[in-house]
């Protein structure tokens, strides 16, 4: 199941996605039973528009990201999934003429407003990218990167925190003898978990994952999905994925994007079993991709 790609799904016809494996059923019931509106929102997106130069990529997005839940962002290529989450930590600003307007409320303020402390924002909203992106330094220094940058601490405490982050990223056993080796020497899946360790070491509130498994193999993907399940106890996670089964497996809530609009948001099981919108249904049944 893990290794099945979207295109294989398409080949099999239209109904696979509604027959999820058992562990999803557990996640599903949790989301089904709770009242979405009563959960605490960590991020509230209201009327978010995004422009690449003159071209508008997002149109009036509204989305609530709930605390300690995994929210999946799905939709066809180019629909604005990544663009959307890249506004949360304002990473889009690295590029000229990328512009966002509207509200992304986080910690009581609009992060898009000019007074935002970007360094602190990006500590509190960490990000994992499509391709594993270890820094050109040792495994230890990678994980210690954010800690050294944001906190003052002595060596012993630093080592403790690094070990802790690696353990919580389910990587410690594999790298405890390789802390002095370059991060780049690890396998692709390990590199991605290293990036997750690096991210959670500096104690973020939210972890954004932009297709974190698209560049790694199925076994490594399964490990990362397991990790996501474990991490949501302490962190709020937003994951962009083009793999609908992955969304079904790991997320509590799902937002379906289409051509820059958020078409439908709801408990993941509902989105996959009983979508309210025609476009959502077409997408999840594989009528387009």
């Amino acid at each position: 199941m893990v290794g099945t790609t979207v295109s294989e799904t398409l080949d099999q016809g239209g109904e696979i996605l509604v027959a999820p494996p058992t562990e999803v059923a557990a996640g599903r019931s949790a989301a089904m039973d709770e009242d979405f509106d009563k959960l605490e929102s960590v991020i509230s997106v209201r009327g978010l528009d995004f422009f690449y130069g003159k071209e508008q990529a997002l149109f009036g997005n509204h989305l609530e990201i709930k605390k300690n839940r995994v929210t999946a962002v799905i939709g066809p290529s180019g629909c604005g999934k990544s663009t959307h989450i890249r506004t949360y930590n304002r990473i889009y600003e690295l590029y000229r003429d990328h512009k966002a307007t509207g509200e992304v409320m986080f910690g009581g303020r609009n992060v898009l407003s000019s007074g935002t402390d970007l360094l602190d924002l990006r500590r509190r909203i960490g990000m994992i990218f499509q391709k594993p992106s270890p820094f050109p330094m040792t495994v230890f220094d990678n994980v210690a990167y954010g800690l050294r940058q944001h906190y003052k601490m002595n060596k012993a405490e630093l080592a403790d925190r690094v070990e802790d982050a690696l353990k919580r990223s389910a990587l410690w056993e594999e790298v405890k003898h390789k802390l002095g080796e370059p991060g780049i020497a690890l396998s692709g899946g390990q590199q991605q978990r290293l990036c997750i360790a690096r991210c959670i070491a500096s104690e973020p509130d939210v972890v954004l994952m932009d297709e974190p498994c698209s560049a790694i193999d199925p076994v490594a993907t399964a490990k990362i999905e397991e990790l996501i399940n474990a991490l949501k106890a302490n962190y709020t996670i937003v994951i962009v994925t083009h793999n609908m089964q992955q969304a079904a497996r790991v997320s509590d809530y799902t937002a379906f994007f289409y051509e820059g609009y958020i078409v439908e948001v709801g408990p993941t099981t509902q989105i996959f079993s009983n979508p309210q919108q025609k476009q959502t249904e077409d997408y999840i049944t594989g009528r387009f991709s």
């Binding site: 690295l94 990218f129 391709k131």
Partner: protein
């Protein structure tokens, strides 16, 4: 957009009759032939290297057997006075090169970072092209610029300013016995060398910095790093080996640069410069200036001996660079 990006229409192929055409049997000889050609080309580089070293050793043998290693510790080059020494030239080479690298490397790095990270791409392209053009200017032009502009400037402005202040008391700035006013000096030659190697180091460094993956930089900013932190903790480290390579290309050029330096360094073959404002000489410029004066077999042989030393020095630096790079790569995992 909403469909798979695969063109499933029948593809236009060769006309049906084509299958009956004669098979292209000679096709399969391509790879072996190319392998041989590549091998020959590759070997020729190594052969050229060894031949060069061999010729240098052979032709300098008279001097090597007569002067031995004391050639390296004898100061003055004065064949008429019976003194064959390379030390003055070695010291001058070291001093001009150090001056050039100390100025050029940091400046080149800053410019390269500016071009890759801080200015808009269009501006970067214009400046980058300018720098590449600078790299293409023949060295004699730099020599003339140094002669007509920099020498008078150093002599009339800089040297008096330094000599009259407390700076003139510092070692390396206090004029030595050979002081001639500071125009033709180690410092002038070093400055011109810096200008000459700057475009090389800048252009190479920029190229390797451009190879730092976008996602790695984004990850840096995503961790809450400032631009400065991303630049020096991530980009520079990632590009480190390439930048060291660029530095060594610059170093090689500075060590071997002949004419521009010969114009400006003062041509003082007899003593080790005591000050940056003293005149001196370098190995390459000494060889160039003294070849016409060389009359005896020993004169010529000693000059070639000097060339052999320069050859050896550049080799040693290359090897050291490689060793250092390998070590750096082991701990940082940077590429390029």
């Amino acid at each position: 957009m909403s469909t798979l990006d695969i063109d499933v229409r029948p593809q236009a192929g060769p006309p049906r009759g084509a299958a009956k055409a004669a098979p292209r049997g000679h096709r399969r000889f391509g790879d072996p032939v190319f392998r041989v050609v590549a091998l020959v080309c590759g070997l020729s580089v190594a052969i050229a290297m060894f031949t060069l070293a061999g010729v240098l050793i052979y032709n300098s043998w008279t001097a090597i057997s007569e002067l031995g290693l004391s050639f390296l510790t004898t100061v003055a080059w004065s064949p008429n006075g019976g003194s064959y020494g390379a030390l003055a030239a070695l010291a001058g080479t070291a001093m001009t090169t150090v001056v050039a690298m100390v100025i050029a490397v940091p400046l080149a790095l800053v410019i390269a970072l500016l071009l890759t990270e801080l200015v808009p791409p269009r501006v970067a392209r214009v400046i980058g092209t300018g720098i590449e053009m600078l790299a293409a200017i023949p060295s004699i032009i730099f020599g003339m610029w140094g002669l007509f502009v920099l020498v008078p400037f150093m002599q009339e402005r800089v040297a008096p300013l330094v000599m009259d202040s407390w700076l003139g008391e510092l070692p390396l700035l206090r004029p030595g016995p050979m002081f001639q006013g500071g125009g033709f000096s180690i410092l002038t030659a070093g400055l011109v060398l810096a200008v000459m190697v700057l475009p090389f180091i800048t252009a190479f460094s920029r190229d390797v910095l451009l190879m730092v993956p976008r996602v790695t930089k984004e990850a840096g900013y995503g961790m809450g790093s400032t631009t400065w932190e991303v630049l020096h903790k991530i980009s520079l480290r990632y590009a480190l080996s390439g930048i060291v390579g660029a530095t060594f290309i610059g170093l090689g050029r500075a060590l071997g640069e002949t004419m521009a330096v010969a114009y400006l360094v003062g041509g003082s073959f007899l003593s080790v410069p005591q000050s940056l404002f003293d005149p001196g000489t370098t190995i390459a410029s000494l060889i160039a200036l003294q070849f016409n004066e060389a009359t005896t077999k020993l004169d010529i042989s000693a000059l070639i001996y000097m060339g052999l030393i320069l050859f050896a020095i550049t080799m040693v630096f290359q090897v050291l660079a490689q060793i250092w790079l390998r070590r750096a790569r082991r701990t940082t995992g940077g590429r390029a």
